[in-house]
């Protein structure tokens, strides 16, 4: 028997009908997925995660233009003038482990590079998706979204769009247009310094077709009054979790992604 939690007792393991902890409780799960660093926001039950350490990439790339998606390691760079103290470091790397996923989009106005993961094992309720990303770019768009697909089309969509130039965060409204939510400036690093990974998380409620909240770099934004874009649906649903990057100013953009976590039973 499976028992689902909606409480905030994050360190409590599920118990069966005999009040015994099961063998796949949160503690064991945490140990398996290295949860302390991986799960930035621990609310919800983890139903899928990926840290891109496996060479078998589970996300499907969808690219318009000449973008690319590849697993990468960091590399050591050094100063051209030989002054090793000025400019030596490890570029990018990953948030944890050895690899991250590099996404590069080409510079065309309508070009994009995206990755998406399809899942059918979920419950109609509050789901959350989070990515950590890093970039040295001073422009470009990043979008994180849920697409609810019933075999006949994309019927529900909830996504947030982040504009690196200004830090403007937008959501996809019921009218299928993006609307401003807040301005959250992205970290500005020193020259030559690695830009730290930051986490974005979006929670939506599939039962009410409403947004719930977004987390951007530690800031929580209440979105519970916003409706998702949706249309009538039928058939067996599947869910696409998708992460896009798009260029601005006719400049190709590169973003490094790590530590994807999908949760359900979000509070």
């Amino acid at each position: 028997m499976v028992k689902y939690f909606t409480s905030r007792a994050f360190i409590t393991d599920p118990k069966d009908v005999w009040n015994k902890e099961t063998t796949i409780g949160l503690t064991e799960h945490a140990a398996r997925v290295h949860a302390p660093p991986l799960v930035y926001d621990r609310r919800g039950n983890v139903i899928y995660w990926d840290d891109y350490e496996s060479p078998n990439i589970k996300f499907y790339p969808e690219i318009k233009g000449s973008g690319i998606v590849q697993r990468v390691t960091g590399y050591i760079y050094s100063s051209p003038d030989g002054n090793s103290q000025n400019n030596v470091g490890i570029d990018w790397g990953s948030k944890f482990g050895n690899y991250s996923l590099m996404m590069k989009c080409s510079s065309g106005q309508y070009d994009y590079t995206s990755i998406y993961y399809v899942i059918t094992d979920f419950h109609i309720g509050k789901l959350g998706a989070q990515f950590s990303f890093a970039t040295r770019e001073d422009g470009g768009y990043i979008t994180l979204g849920f697409v609810y697909y019933d075999g006949d089309g994309e019927k529900w969509m909830g996504s947030v769009d982040y504009y690196l130039d200004t830090g403007m965060l937008k959501y996809l409204g019921e009218d299928s247009f993006y609307h401003n939510i807040a301005t959250i400036p992205y970290f500005t690093g020193y020259s030559g310094e690695k830009i730290p990974y930051g986490t974005i998380k979006l929670v939506v409620d599939l039962s009410t077709k409403k947004y719930v909240r977004a987390l951007f770099f530690g800031r929580e934004i209440d979105l519970s009054t916003y409706d998702m874009y949706h249309s009538p649906f039928s058939g067996i649903p599947s869910l696409f979790i998708r992460f896009w990057i798009r260029p601005t100013d006719s400049v190709s953009r590169t973003v490094y992604v790590d530590n994807f976590v999908l949760t359900e039973n979000e509070p």
Partner: protein, 112 residues
């Protein structure tokens, strides 16, 4: 962590045309850096060339059969390791019309 080879291309007993790309589309590495480990056997002697493309520019690197002056010996299998780099794609060409008896390309994400 152990290396996990991933099969990228597999061809068996297929004709190839001289100086023409063997793969219908270039191999884009899943991981960089990684190795493309190529096992290949032709029925005719010839020179196997790696076509490495970056940002629209393609360079050629001959994959040399040891002790043969550059050509591969017919009906003899060879193994090559190609090291991949950021934003590069890869293809192969052979210098003569031949039958490609066997070719398999594995992508290996770390050294073994």
């Amino acid at each position: 962590m152990t290396a996990e080879p991933i099969k990228r291309i597999s061809i068996f007993n297929t004709s190839v045309t001289a100086n023409t790309d063997i793969f219908s589309s270039d191999i884009i590495p899943l991981t960089v850096p990684s190795y493309l480990r190529i096992y290949v056997t032709f029925d005719t002697a010839g020179v196997l060339t790696l076509k490495r493309t970056n940002s629209g520019t393609t360079i050629s690197e001959n994959l040399v059969g040891e002790g043969t002056g550059g050509s591969l010996v017919e009906n003899v299998p060879y193994i090559f390791d190609i090291i991949t780099d950021d934003e590069e794609t890869y293809n192969l060409q052979y210098s003569v019309n031949a039958t490609l008896l066997k070719l398999i390309v594995l992508e290996i994400d770390r050294g073994i």
